[in-house]
Amino acid sequence: MIINVKQDVLEAYRKRAEEVRAELEARGVYMVNLIGSPGSGKTLLLERSMERMPKLERIAVIEGDVETQRDAERLERFGIQLVSVNTGGACHLEAQSVAGALERLELDALELIFIENVGNLICPVEFDLGEAARVAVSSVPEGEDKPTKYPALFREASAVVLNKVDLAPYVPFDPDYFRSEVRRLNGKAPLFELSASSGDGLDPWLAWIEERRGRLRAAAPQNE
């Protein structure tokens, strides 16, 4: 016999993500999900951002790694709230593991949470974590074709970071092609071209986060 079901396979994941999003919105906490390849510079971007951001006590980072605490250890010196989530082989974080991480954080003290997703351009894209913003992190040595080859990430990103622009003289990279592909896939997302290593170009990125965070905070019920 044939049974018509029409059941959304990812429904449970999406519901959990919506719960996380609603809770954070109500508390006025802005959560950013960083997605990029291994080695694109997500952790260094966080380190350089922490060095420049005021009031670190209001910031938390959720580190998603397949194994090890290496990335989390790099952020310990900032004294921020830090939770490391080992996915035990899985290629992405899920809303359920983020919800678990949030329980280990002192949410009342927080205004901003960064999630560093597992380095991967495909799987994390399918899993809504309840974030307010999703940021695609790409880098010059990866080549200009990443948006073209992994369109789903770039199409749904709230912003795109192009890291390691200081390496442009040394590796083949066509910046105009990269820019036009990001634009074609996602005309709304701002593109931040920066070098986390040198610190060049970080200010517009930080200003964007602060602006978005402030807007969410202002709209939160407790601040009405």
Binding site: I3, N4, K188
Partner: protein, 115 residues
């Protein structure tokens, strides 16, 4: 390789349905997959065949149906399909497109035997 993650979720849903419908076995699973989901059919089938071992769906075949993408322009209300030329409204150029369809991962139907 997100096909494996999706298949894992698929089996969670499938087990619910098997329980709810009191099925003894499942012969066929029809899955509707939106073209925006970047699913590779061969990988999906491979992952499905690996995951079905030891379940009531161990003899099941996976049928994939692709759902083409459709967008609505929030600025002018125009509906369009092909994103080839870029994710902008072909009529007014706005980037404010909402997805009407093309992101589904949905079990449409299953064929099975009742207990």
């Amino acid at each position: 390789m997100h096909e494996f993650s999706i298949v894992e979720a698929l089996f969670r849903s499938l087990e619910e349905i098997i329980e709810r419908e009191r099925l003894r076995s499942v012969q066929r699973v029809r899955l509707r997959v939106g073209e925006l989901r970047q699913i590779v059919p061969e990988l999906m089938t491979f992952a499905f065949d690996a995951a079905k071992e030891g379940t009531k769906a161990c003899g099941a075949a996976l049928e994939l149906e692709t759902v083409s993408a459709r967008f609505r322009c929030e600025a002018c209300g125009n509906e369009c399909s092909s994103p080839e030329a870029g994710y902008a409204c072909p009529q007014c150029g706005s980037y404010e497109l909402s997805v009407l369809q093309g992101k589904e991962i949905e079990i449409a139907a299953i064929e099975g035997e009742r207990e």
